[in-house]
Symmetry: C2
Subunit: 354 residues, 2 copies
Amino acid sequence: MTANGATISNGPACPIPISEYPRILLAHGGGGKLSQQLIQKMFVPQFKNESLGLLHDGAVLRVEGDRIAFTTDSYVINPIFFPGGNIGELAINGTVNDLAMCGAIPRYLSVGFIIEEGFAMENLWRLVHSMQEAATYAGVVLVTGDTKVVDKGKGDQIFINTSGIGVIEKGVDIDPRRAAAGDAIIVSGNIAQHGIAIMSVREGLEFETTIKSDTAALNSLVHRMMATYRDIHVLRDPTRGGLASSLNEIADSAHVGIRISEENIPIAEDVKGACEIMGFDPLYVANEGKLIAFLPATKANEMLSVMKSHPQGKESQIIGEVVADHPGLVVMKTKIGGSRVVDMMSGEQLPRIC
Amino acid sequence: MTANGATISNGPACPIPISEYPRILLAHGGGGKLSQQLIQKMFVPQFKNESLGLLHDGAVLRVEGDRIAFTTDSYVINPIFFPGGNIGELAINGTVNDLAMCGAIPRYLSVGFIIEEGFAMENLWRLVHSMQEAATYAGVVLVTGDTKVVDKGKGDQIFINTSGIGVIEKGVDIDPRRAAAGDAIIVSGNIAQHGIAIMSVREGLEFETTIKSDTAALNSLVHRMMATYRDIHVLRDPTRGGLASSLNEIADSAHVGIRISEENIPIAEDVKGACEIMGFDPLYVANEGKLIAFLPATKANEMLSVMKSHPQGKESQIIGEVVADHPGLVVMKTKIGGSRVVDMMSGEQLPRIC
């Protein structure tokens, strides 16, 4: 590297302890504790502004009086074609979902490709075609884009960034800080499918049935949920770091306690078996087509039945509640009757899962 | 690759002739003819919508009655620190400029990092700090972000995507299709600095003076230009592919001819010398802090003096005009009195220049 950096001013020192982490580790991108440290200690204080501080899936902005949501995600998943989907479809669905989790109606997406020299044109075409199908399904339009090519060996086939804009209708106020004692917590279906689908392919494992990624656009489900009860408090799609990390982030944002019940968490038998074989805790495994919703318990049963009637919500379950006790902690009642603290993921469980 | 792609439908065939280009080449990301082919034959027809078809630097969208501009760019420049700037600063300025070229006031930016495992934390910090300085200077806020880490050897230190949103005020109508016979063409200063700064470092060449990148935010200059004459027809920042490619794109969009005069094109002596030594035509070399403006010739002298009074426009020059003849062609009157067609760049002159 030619560190000529003549224009770099001698600013404040690096806020991440260099003695501890002199170099970026895979875990700094894994959605767990090291990711949080990087965001909380470096990015948020440096890029300080109200929107970024919330650490939501997207930023909620005012533009000429209207509220819009704005979000970005880069996709570096390996392999790029996997059971149930591909990196292109994932890049559309993931960004659509981040907007939907802000309570926004997703409208416009941008696409940035970083392609490794030598990538097969036919595969690019398959991805582009699949992205358009996913965009059509989700009702969004790809309005602007950029393509960069890097030398062979300086990338890994293809990385895709999608950013998105959505419009938030009046009366909608989804915010992780709104989780409140008395809220019920609903998850929209079987967890851990995406992560296990990727890992089983990557590790060359074969199960009796092929486990498929759950990648899906959730905006239609959210639309129906909001038509049922507009004042949902929190929505979140538990991607990197899984259900456990998302619940911890929300407990932390709202300074509330969360209680969940293991026996109510929906998980398919084959996924459960694969987790046992590979030694993964499904609570920490990524999902790409599931959401968790927080809303007043009095509305939970009605919402549950609405969700179950939607294709993306058929296996929805009420998995727990928000409590005033133990703020910041997620506690799970286990199947054998005990209880354990479900911490945020610390290491890097599944690199390049999305 | 595990091409399991079970969900890929058998759609239409790839529109790029596979026999000719079975694999992605560096030139597909170079801003020249192959880039254009990829965009025009694959992306635009597939992601078809009015905004994308315009091939502007950003999309102009209507959100609840307001017009906003939306743009995205990935930065893969090598080296990441270079004379006059770094990849972080470039990523802010580049996206700010794309918004300004739509006539928008840049407001909000997203940042997506793709970091190679092992990247020095201190360098990440230097980049983040520099990005914040650039954002503050340009008056934009970084509101949302994403960080991915890829395994060592699967990336190249750091790639940065920035997407941005700006607001377009009433009465502003910047559009490449508006270039019209009778328009004057102004360039805001010396060309080819960025590309030559990068290449001289990369090639290990030493010149008498260090040539610095011209990376700079242009929104303040544009603001002053629009205060002088709001109905500017076209703005464009000639980045990848340089001045020649931008002029060709505009001639093509508006179906007009363009005439420029070689002796009026501003270029610094050291940059001209470096181009001769390295064998580059400066018309095709990237700029990162310059713009070209098309406006009625009757307003050109007033605009020129306003631009010259701004720090980013001191060496502005009127370089040519739009004509009704030879639509789609850019013709240059050379210094020795001849004339030549200035074509769009065909190959890949400078890979990973931004």
